[in-house]
């Protein structure tokens, strides 16, 4: 068991290094900014990047008032999701997909995937406790912007 845990840790380290290298290599090419939105019922005004990480990596599942956090993801091959993954979550989308799969098997629902920013916005507007990220030009009426990313 100890050996297995050791090798897993090494693999994570390697992935982090790789992610760092990719972010710095391609970061300059991705234009526009990301808005993090949440249902108005969410009891916080803003969510930090660190908080975003804990939310999307499913380490925190409840808002401070106790209602469940419903994270919403973008489609896997969307550039927005890639940027969100790299900049916010600091990991490659592939590694994250693996991570969420593992989480799903552990009984934790991975973030719901929507095809478009409009859909994410619609979902977050409708679903209490929902949080998602959309492109900056997405209409945001009915939702609460809790973070803006460069």
């Amino acid at each position: 068991m100890a050996t297995a845990a050791g090798s897993k840790a090494r693999a994570l380290l390697l992935l982090a290094l790789l992610a760092f290298f990719v972010r710095h290599g391609y970061g300059a090419n991705t234009g526009g900014s990301i808005i993090v939105i949440a249902n108005p019922s969410v009891p916080v005004a803003s969510v930090s990047l660190k908080e975003l990480v804990t939310i999307y990596l499913l380490r925190v599942t409840l808002w401070p008032d106790g209602q469940p956090i419903v994270p919403v993801n973008q489609e896997a091959d969307s550039r927005l999701r890639s940027r969100f993954s790299e900049t916010v979550l600091g990991q490659q989308p592939m590694a994250l997909a693996n991570y969420w799969n593992q989480m799903h098997f552990q009984g934790k629902n991975p973030p719901l995937v929507m095809d478009s920013s409009q859909a994410v916005a619609a979902f977050v507007r409708k679903v209490p406790g929902a949080i998602g990220y959309v492109s900056a030009n997405t209409p945001t009426e009915g939702v609460k912007i809790v973070e803006r990313l460069p």
Partner: protein, 802 residues
């Protein structure tokens, strides 16, 4: 061979009966077996059909359940897809719409999928893209708290199709227990109906409230039928036919409709099955019946043919009377026994008829032929003679009837035996045949009497006589040939015969006349010494008639007291009367005195000599008795001639003794004169009788001595008292030295033997002297007195004695 009738005739009433019986038997048996089989088959088939129906119902219902369950599970899974969370966004990304399109294709869904939002408005559907926002039909809605519902048969409001459907609640992936919409999957009723189709039964589906959802009968259900189905009746009435019904109900724990499925026997299945069974039975009847029929006909034919043959043969026999016909024996069974018995019967009958015919022939032969010699008999001869007479009258020819009589046959037959006699007769018959032409007839009338009928002799009497004589001479000749008897030890015999012939011409005479004439002629032959031929003539006829008349009279001579005794004196040398020879005279009322020479042979022949002889003896004795008192008469000796026939009578001795006793005469006064031939007939018997008489005291004299062949040997044995020298020697005694010598010798011999000698026929004194000189002491003759009637003799006695 019997011409057998063609085949059908043998199927007579009996055969037809057998055939009918067997056919009936076959049909009844076959029908019974068929009925039983059919009954069992139908019962079995009924059970099988019921099982099949039951299985079908269950299977169909199960199929539906599986299909529905499948659909339900699928729809449930689809409702839980992540993408369904897009209901929250009103499917802003069209992801649900795309997913539904993909499912429809991927799963080859026969129906449609509808996705409704949380409020029941249609969000997307693969069926009607333009219906977005329309609200969910009320029967599709779920009861709060439920997440699934089977929607019974109804109309899809969007498509107008009849469907069943599966309605699912869509749970939110992000919030357990939260419903974010509804997913409804429809299933076209058409597909359900296609699943409910069955080839060999009709299915009817009722929903839980008894409404008809599906009717595979082809026709509308009758209210009564529907009522029965609702009540789960096992029979469904349709017109006149009862159909079987089986039901199936899904298990309660199954997802799906609470339907009842009734499987109704197809109108054809059972009927078809029974129809097939009937066809097979009929086919079996033909396949079995035809060979059986042929076999039956064959067997019947086989059994009845021998009977028909028997009948045909019996009819044939009765028609043709030919008992030689037989039937073929076909086996060892009852029929064979019958045939055997039939053959046995016919052969027995045939044998009987042969024997009867043989007997008839024998009777015929006996009637017309002599069994001993095989010659025709009198009856046959009668016909032949009649024919010959007519033929003679027609052609003018002469005919001749010969009467042939074997000489001395009767005596020979008695002495040599009947067998010898029969042999002789057969031999004679054999010898007669070659003497005549084949057209002539030889018959045997009986005894030794043969008759030969010669026909077609010459027209001229002289020539005819010559022709007949020639034949007769031939016959005489062959008869005189020596006869060698079969018995080697017996002596040869040379016989003779006497033949009388009667010639005839025309048909005036009858057979009896002819026979009588031939007989007369034959008699004359016999009378004149036998072994000769005589033709009949009229003189013969009259002589015969006279003789016959005489014979008739002779039979009455004693009763009519026409006989008289004459006495011829016998004297001694001095002329004294010693006695007399008693002689018989017949005082015939018409012919006067008839000579003994004439009637004695007739009496001998007819046997009348016996009573006549006794009468003589008795009368003579009575006379002796009458003379007892007279001094001149009481010592007289009467000499009485005894014929051979009389002497040979077995009771002669007794009769003489009786007469002597009755008349009380001294036997010594009686002297019986016997001839040599009498003794020679049977010497020993004669000696016995003579000795017995001698013992009584009666004397004997040998009559006609010298004329016979007397042997000195037995002359010595005979108890004779006297020799009587025949008159033929006396006549010329004085002139003929030979006669003289003979007489001398006789006298000398008599002396030597101690016998008296008497000479008869002494007529002259010279004769008397010579005899006396030679020593003869007794005489008889005209010299001393001719035969005298009693009064004259008594007078003579008185004169002489006086």
């Amino acid at each position: 061979m019997i011409p057998f009738a063609p085949f059908p005739r043998y199927l007579g009433p009996f055969a037809r009966k057998v055939l009918l019986l067997l056919t009936a038997l076959f049909v009844i048996t076959y029908a019974s077996i068929s009925a039983i089989i059919l009954f069992d088959l139908s019962a079995y088939q009924r059970a099988a059909t019921r099982n099949e129906l039951s299985r079908l119902a269950s299977a169909k219902l199960n199929n539906l359940a599986v299909e529905f369950s499948h659909q339900a599970v699928n729809s449930r899974a689809w409702a839980r897809l992540d993408v369904m969370n897009d209901l929250v966004t009103n499917d802003v990304d069209q992801r649900i719409a795309r997913a539904l399109g993909q499912m429809k294709i991927q799963y080859r869904l026969p129906g449609n999928i509808y996705a409704f939002g949380e409020n029941g408005n249609l969000i997307t559907s693969n069926a009607v893209p333009g219906a977005r926002g329309r609200s969910m039909p009320s029967n599709w809605r779920l009861t709060p708290g439920d997440d699934f519902r089977f929607i019974d048969k109804s109309v899809d409001p969007y498509t107008g199709q009849a469907i069943v459907a599966f309605s699912n609640a869509v749970p939110a992936a992000y919030a357990p227990g939260k419903t974010i919409g509804y997913l409804v999957v429809t299933y076209p009723w058409q597909v359900v109906a296609s699943l409910l189709h069955a080839d060999n039964a009709s299915l009817v589906v009722l929903n839980h409230s008894g409404e008809v959802l599906y009717n595979g009968m082809g026709t509308a259900l009758s209210p009564a039928g529907l009522e029965r189905l609702r009540a789960h009746a096992t029979r469904y009435p349709a017109g006149r036919t009862d159909y079987m019904v089986a039901y199936a109900k899904p298990p309660d724990n199954r997802v799906g409709p609470h339907w009842q499925l009734a499987a109704i026997e197809s109108s054809n299945s059972m009927k078809d099955y029974l129809h097939t069974a009937w066809e097979q039975i009929a086919l079996g009847m033909v396949l079995l019946g035809v060979p059986l029929g042929v076999l039956t006909i064959g067997i019947t034919y086989r059994f009845t043919r021998p009977l028909a043959e028997l009948t045909a043969t019996a009819l044939e026999i009765s028609k043709s009377s030919d008992l030689s016909k037989r039937v073929a024996v076909t086996g060892r069974d009852e029929v064979g026994l019958l045939q055997r018995a039939f053959n046995e019967m016919t052969s027995r009958l045939q044998q009987d008829i042969i024997e009867r015919k043989k007997a008839e022939t024998e009777i015929h032969n006996l009637a017309f032929f002599d069994p001993l010699t095989q010659l025709p008999n009198r009856r046959f001869l009668h016909g032949r003679v009649e024919y010959a007479l007519n033929s003679s009258a027609l052609h003018g020819n002469h005919g001749a009837l010969m009467f042939i009589d074997l000489d001395h046959f009767k005596k020979l037959n008695d002495t040599k035996g009947h067998e010898w006699g029969d042999q002789l007769l057969i031999e004679v018959a054999k010898r007669l045949k070659p003497c005549v032409r084949t057209t002539d007839t030889i018959a045997r009338l009986g005894g030794d009497e043969f008759v030969v009928l010669l026909e077609g002799l010459s027209e001229r009497p002289e020539e005819a006589t010559t022709q007949a004589r020639k034949v007769a001479e031939k016959i005489l000749n062959v008869i005189t040939q020596p006869f060698v008897p079969k018995d080697r030890d017996a002596d040869e015999y040379q016989g003779t015969c006497s033949i009388g012939i009667s010639l005839f011409r025309g048909n005036e005479t009858t057979l009896n006349d002819l026979l009588k004439q031939a007989d007369i002629a034959m008699y004359f032959v016999k009378d004149s010494g036998r072994n000769a031929i005589r033709f009949f003539d009229v003189g013969m006829q009259s002589a015969m008639e006279y003789r016959n008349a005489l014979e008739t009279d002779l039979r009455r001579v004693l009763s009519k007291r026409q006989l008289r005794l004459y006495f011829q004196p016998q004297v001694d040398s001095v002329g004294r009367i010693l006695g007399a020879e008693v002689l018989l005279r017949w005082e015939h009322p018409e012919h006067g005195l008839v000579s003994p020479v004439e009637f004695i042979p007739l009496a001998e022949e007819t046997g009348l000599i016996v009573p006549i002889g006794l009468w003589v003896l008795e009368t003579a004795c009575a006379q002796l008795n009458a003379w007892k008192g007279g001094p001149h008469t009481r010592t007289l000796v009467l000499a009485i001639n005894v014929s051979a026939r009389q002497f040979q009578q077995p009771d002669f001795l007794a009769r003489v003794s009786e007469i002597l006793e009755r008349t009380a005469v001294d036997p010594a006064q009686l002297k019986l004169e016997l001839t040599e031939s009498l003794i020679l007939d049977n010497v020993s018997a004669a000696i016995t009788t003579m000795r017995a008489l001698k013992a009584m005291g009666i004397g004997f004299s040998m009559d006609d001595f010298g004329t016979g062949y007397s042997s000195l040997t037995y002359l010595k044995l005979l108890p004779l008292d006297q020799l009587k020298i025949d008159r033929s020697f006396i006549r010329n005694i004085a002139t003929d030295p030979n006669d003289a010598a003979i007489v001398r010798t006789i006298i000398a011999m008599g002396k030597t033997l101690g016998m008296d000698v008497i000479a008869e026929g002494v007529e002259t004194e010279a004769q008397r002297e010579f005899l006396e000189l030679q020593g003869c002491r007794a005489f008889q003759g005209y010299l001393f007195g001719k035969p005298l009637p009693l009064p004259d003799f008594e007078q003579l006695l008185g004169v002489r004695q006086a």
